[in-house]
C-alpha cells in the first residue's frame, strides 16, 4: 500500500521536475525581453557563480570566502585571451575556466587541511593575494585601469547588441549548470554530502576525504571561472572589483539567500541580488549621506531578514513547505549551518528515484 503511494509520488515528482526544468528554461530564454539585457546576462553569470559556490558550501560544507580569486582570474584570463588571440568568446571563456581550475589546485591542497572558519580565512587570504597581484601586475591586468575593450568574437557575428549576446552566452552558463547538477546527482556528489555530514565516518568507510574536497574545490573553481569569463566578455571589461573580497562576499550572500545546499536556490539568490542592486541604482532612491551605500544597505537588510525569518533561504523554505505539507514532515529547524540534514532531505523511507 505504502509502496504504491510512493510510486505514485515518484511519477508525480518526475512530471513536476520536467515542468520545472522546462519552466526554468522558458524564463531563461524570455529574460532579456523582460529586463535590460546586460542585467539579464549578469543574472545568468552570477547564478552560475553562486551555484558553483553552493557545490562547496551546501554540498561539501566548506565555506570559501575567496571565490572572487577564481571568478576574477578567469575574467582577466578571458579578456587577455580574447584581446591577444581574437579567439571566439566561448573558447576564451573555456580557457579562462581552465586557468581558474589550475589556480585552484594549489589553493585547494593547502586549504582543505582546515575546516570551518579557518578554511574561510585561508581562502580569503589567497584571494587577497590574487587581488594584490592583479593590482601590481598592471602590464597584464591594466592595474587600476582594468582590462578594457574585450571583444565579443564569434565567427564574425556581430554580438555588440547585449540582447543578442545574451543568447550567445546563455548556452555556456547552461552547460555549467548542467555540470553542477550532474556532480550533485552522481555517486561522487553523494560522497560529498556524506563528508559534509560526518567526515570522520566517511574516512572510516574508506573515502579519501581530502582528495574529494580538493576535487570539488577545483570543479567549483572551474565553474566560477566559466561564470567570471562570461561576465568579463559580457561587460567587455575586467577590473580589480572582480578579484576584490566584496565579490566573494556577494556570492556567499546570494547562495545563502537562495538556500544553501539547494543548487537552484542560488539561481534565485543571484537573480534577487542583481535585480535589487540594479533597481536601487537606477531608481534614483536617495538615502541622503548613505546614497553611495544604498544598494549595499538594502541587500543587507534583505539578507538579515531572510536569515532571521527563513533560515533555509528562499528556495529552501519553499521546498520545505511543499514537502512538509505533502508528507507531513514535522517542521524542524535546520542545523546551525543552515543546511537541512541528509535525513531531512532524504527520508530513509523514500524510494529510490
Amino acid at each position: 500500500m505504502t509502496a504504491l503511494v510512493f510510486r505514485k509520488l515518484g511519477a508525480m515528482s518526475r512530471l513536476w521536475r520536467l515542468v520545472a526544468v522546462l519552466g526554468g528554461l522558458l524564463i531563461a530564454l524570455a529574460l532579456p525581453w523582460l529586463i535590460y539585457p546586460p542585467v539579464a546576462m549578469d543574472i545568468v553569470a552570477w547564478a552560475l557563480f553562486a551555484v558553483a559556490l553552493d557545490l562547496l558550501l551546501g554540498f561539501t560544507g566548506l565555506l570559501s570566502f575567496g571565490h572572487a580569486a577564481f571568478w576574477g582570474t578567469a575574467a582577466y584570463a578571458a579578456g587577455t585571451i580574447a584581446i591577444k588571440t581574437g579567439a571566439p568568446f566561448p573558447v576564451a571563456v573555456a580557457g579562462a575556466a581552465l586557468v581558474a581550475m589550475v589556480l585552484a589546485v594549489p589553493i585547494a591542497l593547502l586549504a582543505v587541511r582546515r575546516t570551518g572558519i579557518y578554511f574561510a580565512m585561508v581562502t580569503l587570504a589567497f584571494a587577497q593575494m590574487v587581488y594584490y597581484l592583479a593590482n601590481q601586475w598592471s602590464s597584464l591586468t591594466g592595474g587600476e585601469n582594468g582590462l578594457q575593450g574585450i571583444p565579443k568574437n564569434l565567427f564574425g557575428l556581430d554580438l555588440s547588441d547585449p540582447f543578442y549576446f545574451y543568447y550567445a552566452g546563455l548556452p555556456i552558463a547552461l552547460i555549467g549548470l548542467l555540470i553542477a547538477w550532474r556532480v550533485v546527482h552522481s555517486p561522487f556528489g553523494r560522497v560529498l554530502v556524506a563528508i559534509r555530514e560526518n567526515p570522520a565516518r566517511s574516512r572510516s568507510l574508506g573515502f579519501p576525504v581530502d582528495r574529494y574536497k580538493v576535487m570539488i574545490f577545483v570543479i567549483s573553481a572551474g565553474l566560477s571561472g566559466l561564470a567570471g569569463g562570461l561576465y568579463a566578455i559580457s561587460h567587455g571589461f575586467a577590473s580589480l572589483q572582480e578579484v576584490y573580497w566584496t565579490t566573494s562576499g556577494k556570492v556567499v550572500i546570494m547562495t545563502v539567500l537562495g538556500g544553501i545546499g539547494t543548487l537552484w536556490g542560488s539561481v534565485i539568490g543571484a537573480a534577487l541580488i542583481v535585480q535589487v542592486e540594479d533597481y536601487v541604482a537606477t531608481s534614483g532612491i536617495h538615502l541622503g549621506p548613505l546614497n553611495i551605500t544604498g544598494p549595499g544597505l538594502i541587500t543587507g537588510l534583505i539578507f538579515v531578514g531572510v536569515v532571521l525569518l527563513f533560515r533555509r533561504g528562499v528556495w529552501g523554505t519553499i521546498a520545505h513547505l511543499v514537502r512538509s505539507r505533502r508528507r507531513g514532515v514535522p517542521d524542524v529547524e535546520p542545523h546551525l549551518s543552515g543546511t537541512p540534514s541528509v535525513a531531512e532531505r532524504e527520508p530513509a523511507v523514500a524510494p529510490k528515484s
Binding site: W16, D161, Q275
Partner: protein, 420 residues
C-alpha cells in the same frame, strides 16, 4: 535532492515577480526620428561624493542644468526640442562602474551625450561605450591624452585640459625658471601614468632631469603619502612634482608641509590643480606655486559674469571643470540646434572643425583630426593670503598660453580617427 525541483513551479512566480520589477526594458533597440525619443537627454557621469566631487561633482550637474536653461531661454520658440533632460550617475571613480553606467545611460535613459567623467581610466571606459553605442561623449574632467590619441574615436571629444597641456605649461616653465631636478610622485592609474610621462618629456626637453619618481596606490584610501614624500629628499631634487588631483592633492600638500620638505630644499610643483583644491588648503599652503589652469573665474568681466550666476545657484565659485561642463553642454545643444537633429553623426559633422568663442573657449576650435577642443589656457600663480580680496580670489594669471601652443599639435597625435 531531486525532490527540491518539485516546488519549482511556485518559485517561477517569484522569478517573474523579480523580472517585473526590472521594468520592461528588453528587446532590441530601434533608431528613429529627428529628435530621438522626442527629447534631448544630457547625461553627467562623475564622482558625486568622493575625492573628485568638489572639483566637478554635483556642481558640474548644476552647470549643465544652467546651460539647458540658458539654451531654452535663448531659443525660446525655435528650439529644436523643448524637452531637454539632464540625468546623473555616480561612478565612484571606478572604471567598471563608469562602463556599466555609461552603457545604461545610453541604452535605458536614452542619453544622447555624456559629459564630464573625471578619472582617466573611467573616461576611457566611457569613450569605448560611446563608440559602441554611436552616441556622443564630451570629456571634460579626465586628463589623459589617450582620449585624443590611441583611443580616440568619432564620438568622443576632449574639452578643457589634458596632461600634455599641463606638462607643457607647468613642466616647461618651472624647469626653465631654474628647477632642473625633479622628483615626481603620481597616482598609479591612467591619469597619473600619463602625467608622469608627459611631465618627464616636457622637463627633459627644456633641459631638466627627473631624479626620482614614485607612484601611489589609487584611490589612496588611507590618504597617507609619507612613503612617497619621505624618500624624495634623498634624491636631492630641486622640486617635488605632484601629479595627484582633488582630495589626494589636498592630503599630499598637507603632508608636504608637515614633513617640512620646503626647509629641506625641495620645492613644490603641482601638475594639476583646481581652484577648489586651493580653497580646501587655504592659499597660504600653496602661495607662490605655479600651475597651468584651463580657465579662471576672475580673469575678466565675461568670466566673472558667469561665475556670479554660478554662485547664485551653488553658493561657491566655479572650477574650470564647472565652466567646461557648461560650455560643453551649451555647444552640444547649439550643434543639435544647427543640425536640426540629435542624430549623432549629424551632430559630430556640425562640431568638427567648428571655431567657437565663448566665455570658456577663448579662440576655441574643435579639431576635426583628433577631436581635441583647443583654446587659450593660462599659467597661474597662487596668491599669498594677504593679496586675496574675496573668497576664491586665489590666482594671479602670469601669462596666457595661446590655443595653438597650449595643446599637442595634430602632427604629433597618434589618433587614427577613421579606424575608431
Amino acid at each position: 535532492m531531486r525532490r527540491n525541483l518539485i516546488p519549482a513551479i511556485s518559485t517561477l512566480a517569484v522569478v517573474s515577480l523579480l523580472a517585473a520589477c526590472g521594468g520592461g526594458a528588453g528587446g532590441p533597440s530601434s533608431g528613429g526620428g529627428k529628435i530621438s525619443d522626442d527629447k534631448i537627454v544630457l547625461g553627467v557621469i562623475n564622482d558625486q561624493t568622493g575625492i573628485y566631487s568638489a572639483l566637478s561633482g554635483p556642481n558640474a550637474v548644476e552647470a549643465v542644468k544652467m546651460a539647458v536653461e540658458d539654451f531654452k531661454a535663448k531659443h525660446a520658440d525655435d528650439a529644436v526640442s523643448k524637452n531637454i533632460e539632464v540625468v546623473v550617475a555616480d561612478h565612484q571613480n571606478k572604471p567598471e562602474v563608469a562602463n556599466t553606467k555609461a552603457q545604461e545611460m545610453y541604452d535605458r535613459q536614452k542619453a544622447d551625450i555624456i559629459l564630464d567623467v573625471p578619472t582617466s581610466s573611467a573616461a576611457l571606459a566611457v569613450a569605448s561605450q560611446a563608440l559602441a553605442k554611436k552616441k556622443l561623449y564630451f570629456n571634460i574632467t579626465a586628463a589623459t591624452t589617450a582620449l585624443t590619441g590611441d583611443k580616440c574615436n568619432k564620438y568622443t571629444f576632449h574639452y578643457a585640459y589634458d596632461t600634455y597641456m599641463l606638462a607643457n605649461g607647468t613642466g616647461t616653465t618651472v624647469t626653465e625658471a631654474g628647477a632642473k631636478n625633479w622628483y615626481i610622485v603620481y597616482p598609479d592609474y591612467a591619469f597619473g601614468q600619463d602625467m608622469e610621462k608627459s611631465f618627464t618629456k616636457a622637463i627633459e626637453t627644456s633641459g631638466g632631469k627627473v631624479v626620482g619618481k614614485k607612484s601611489s596606490e589609487f584611490p589612496n584610501t588611507s590618504g597617507d603619502f609619507s612613503s612617497q614624500l619621505l624618500q624624495a629628499p634623498a634624491a636631492h631634487p630641486d622640486v617635488l612634482g605632484t601629479m595627484h588631483a582633488g582630495g589626494e592633492l589636498v592630503n599630499l600638500v598637507k603632508q608636504y608641509n608637515q614633513f617640512k620638505l620646503k626647509d629641506k630644499g625641495v620645492g613644490l610643483s603641482v601638475g594639476l590643480m583646481f581652484i577648489t583644491d586651493i580653497h580646501s588648503l587655504g592659499p597660504d599652503a600653496l602661495a607662490g606655486t605655479r600651475f597651468t589652469d584651463a580657465w579662471y573665474w576672475n580673469f575678466d568681466q565675461q568670466n566673472r559674469d558667469w561665475a556670479d550666476k554660478f554662485k547664485e545657484k551653488t553658493g561657491s565659485r566655479p572650477s574650470f571643470a564647472h565652466a567646461g561642463n557648461y560650455s560643453a553642454a551649451m555647444n552640444y545643444l547649439e550643434a543639435v540646434q544647427a543640425a536640426g537633429t540629435d542624430e549623432s553623426d549629424a551632430v559630430v559633422k556640425n562640431l568638427e572643425g567648428k571655431e567657437i568663442n565663448d566665455f570658456f573657449l577663448r579662440n576655441g576650435k574643435i579639431r576635426a583630426e583628433d577631436h581635441r577642443v583647443i583654446h587659450d589656457v593660462y599659467l597661474a600663480e597662487v596668491k599669498p593670503k594677504s593679496d586675496v580680496k574675496e573668497d576664491y580670489d586665489y590666482e594671479k594669471i602670469v601669462t596666457t598660453i595661446p590655443a595653438d601652443k597650449a595643446f599637442k599639435p595634430v602632427s604629433e597625435s597618434t589618433c587614427k580617427m577613421g579606424q575608431g
